[in-house]
Amino acid sequence: MLLDENTRVLVQGITGRIGSIQTKYMLEYHTNVVAGVTPGKGGMRVHSVPVFDTVQEAVKETGANASVFFVPAPGVLDAFYETVDAGIRLIVVVPEHVPVHDVMKMKEYAKEKGVVALGPTTPGLLVPNLGKMGIMPASLFRPGRVGIVSRSGTLSYEFAGILSDHGAGQSTVVGMGADPVVLTNLVEILRLFEEDPKTEGIIIVGEVGGEQEEMAAAYIKAHVTKPVAAYIAGRLSPQGKRMGHAGAMIRGEKGSWDGKVAAFREVGVDILRSPIEAGQWVKAKGLTGA
């Protein structure tokens, strides 16, 4: 899902320390990385991948149609517009600490242009044995039929690892991004999983705060036919100090562990109290095997 045989990956910030090593890991996982971009470094090669000054050139020369970002946080907004304007419609924004006002602009632009964008602060996207865009450690993943969507990067690895150990592979693993505003909401990822013929069950890895899970519950009730389980991290996390009253108005009572679990339970989503329970769940639902 999202990433397939026709995906031609561009790496932005490829000459940086992280961009370079992660490109190596992506190539080792047989991802079709066709180009890199670092302004001013056009003409270089990184792990044999040709580097360009601009996304436009990279697209023109290599037919890149998806991009993963390892650019510094203050440069993400600029790179995002550049990438969208060059015609790319799948973007993975790995960096953390991108200013929220930038993310809001990017989210609106993505919606306007029909772009699917993950992040910021995402480990990216991985389709086992096909490729990955981002930083997910490949050894934990196996091909299979369970879709995982996670707000947390490391917890997506944890769940994939547990599933793999229990004989249940993954169709696609999606890191949504851990920021208060993410470029693509959970509901939208669930829609993609519901439509994806290779996905037969879905695990949602959520956490306290925000209202992604509450909105997802409503969506699941109306539109999702596949079995869904959910884990919510932060059951015992101390409540943050409240800042002003506007949050209460925007979110009402949303955001708590209890509220999210109740919302999911009400629409028939199975609640996992600990990641390890995902192992039992896939067995119970017959989702093991490739």
């Binding site: 203050p74 602009k105 450690p137 990067g153």
Partner: protein, 381 residues
């Protein structure tokens, strides 16, 4: 980062939002001088970064010099939701006829700014939100500025104001939105905005929370967020670039990623008592994990440390070196259990084991916590 009320008011004032005259003081004598200087009556307001300060007794009105002295002595001793104020605002008391609520915030789900207005504001505003949602107006704002005065006028009309009141409130709404954009705020709030019988508006309490990720490009002198943290370990965490939250247990936690950190805390919390929450973010180095060990062990009476990290973006083998170096240098004796998976995991395990760390090879946190419990049980028996 949330600013103190007086910092927010100073900023609002430079934008032209009317605020009462005030002084910031650090002892009762200064409070008295400020009170006499401003002219009584005055309000004393504890400067603490928590909500519900008024209900918790952090705001007192003084009619006489004696009250200023006694009440300020009282406030400098009073704990408000766990925090004792170091500074008080002494503010000229204002006569107002109405109190309304104005807030400008990021709607995280929709990913856009939203303006929230209520014709009833003040300490009970959340009750209004809950019980009378029809009294509250929510107005989505354009993503990148472009909010115009006429829109503010329309909104202040909708709040039921006309004439001078409509003009003064719409001016405040417009300027509050301007502050919100120019300070890249997560929240800019005036609650209450007092409106006098003549239609003048005045900002009686102010909240401004800015995005730490945007601090460097905001054209203003803002304090270093680390200086805002009361707890010394949390402050130190902020300084080295990790998120540390102090808890009251005795099992130290180091994790990469907030989700994995919360998950570790939840699982440990079912059987033991976490001493902290610590997440490294994506910048692990040998030095960083050395400092994380330092942070976690600042807590007295620690029984054990639980490390839970993934090698995705993080070079966990580098981090492992920092852990082991710390154990050796400090001669740390308490049990340390580590789950470390992903890129270069075998190398990581080897390093950790060389420092006496108990490495769990299972993929799930549950098993690792179980191992920790076993070790602690064994130690006790």
């Amino acid at each position: 980062m949330r600013l103190q009320e007086y910092e927010a008011k100073e900023i609002f004032k430079t934008y032209g939002i009317p605020v009462p005259e005030f002084r910031v003081v650090r002892d009762p004598e200064a409070a008295l001088r400020a009170g006499l200087d401003l002219g009584l009556p005055v309000m004393l307001k504890a400067q603490v970064l928590v909500g519900g300060r008024g209900k918790a007794g952090g705001v007192l009105k003084c009619e006489t010099p004696e009250e200023v002295l006694t009440f300020s002595e009282e406030l400098f001793r009073r704990e408000i939701k766990g925090l004792v104020p170091k500074e008080l605002m002494v503010e000229k008391a204002c006569e107002v006829e109405k109190e309304i609520y104005l807030g400008c915030a990021v709607d995280g789900y929709e990913g856009r700014p939203v303006l929230i207005l209520s014709k009833r504001g003040g300490v009970d505003v959340e009750d209004v939100f809950r019980r009378h949602p029809e009294k509250v107006n929510k107005f989505p704002l354009p993503i990148d500025g472009g909010f115009l005065p006429y829109q503010a006028r329309g909104l202040s009309k909708e709040l039921g104001f006309s004439g001078e009141g409509m003009l003064s409130i719409s001016k405040v709404i417009y300027l509050l939105v301007k502050v919100f954009y120019e300070y890249e705020a997560l929240l800019a709030e005036i609650n209450p905005l007092g409106v006098s019988s003549g239609g003048d508006s005045i900002c009686l309490d102010a909240v401004l929370e800015v995005d730490n990720a945007a601090l460097k490009r905001i054209r203003a002198n803002l304090p270093n967020p680390a200086t805002r943290i009361e707890n010394p370990i949390e402050r130190k965490g902020r300084e080295i670039g990790v998120t540390y939250v102090d808890l009251d247990g005795d099992i130290g936690i180091i994790s990469s990623g907030a989700g994995l950190g919360m998950c570790s805390m939840d699982i440990i919390g079912d059987r033991l008592r976490p001493a902290n929450f610590l997440e490294t973010g994506g910048g692990i180095t040998e030095e960083l994990l050395y400092r994380c060990m330092e942070l976690v062990t600042m807590k007295p009476n620690l029984r054990a440390i639980f490390i839970n990290v993934y090698g995705g973006i993080n070079p966990i083998h580098e981090g492992a070196k920092g852990v082991v170096r710390f154990i050796r240098e400090k001669g740390l004796k308490i049990p340390i259990v580590a789950k470390a998976l992903g890129n270069r995991q075998e190398e990581t395990w080897e390093i950790l084991r060389s420092g006496g760390v108990e490495v769990v090879e299972e993929t799930d946190t549950e098993s690792a916590v179980k191992r920790l419990c076993e070790i602690l049980e064994r130690g006790r028996s």
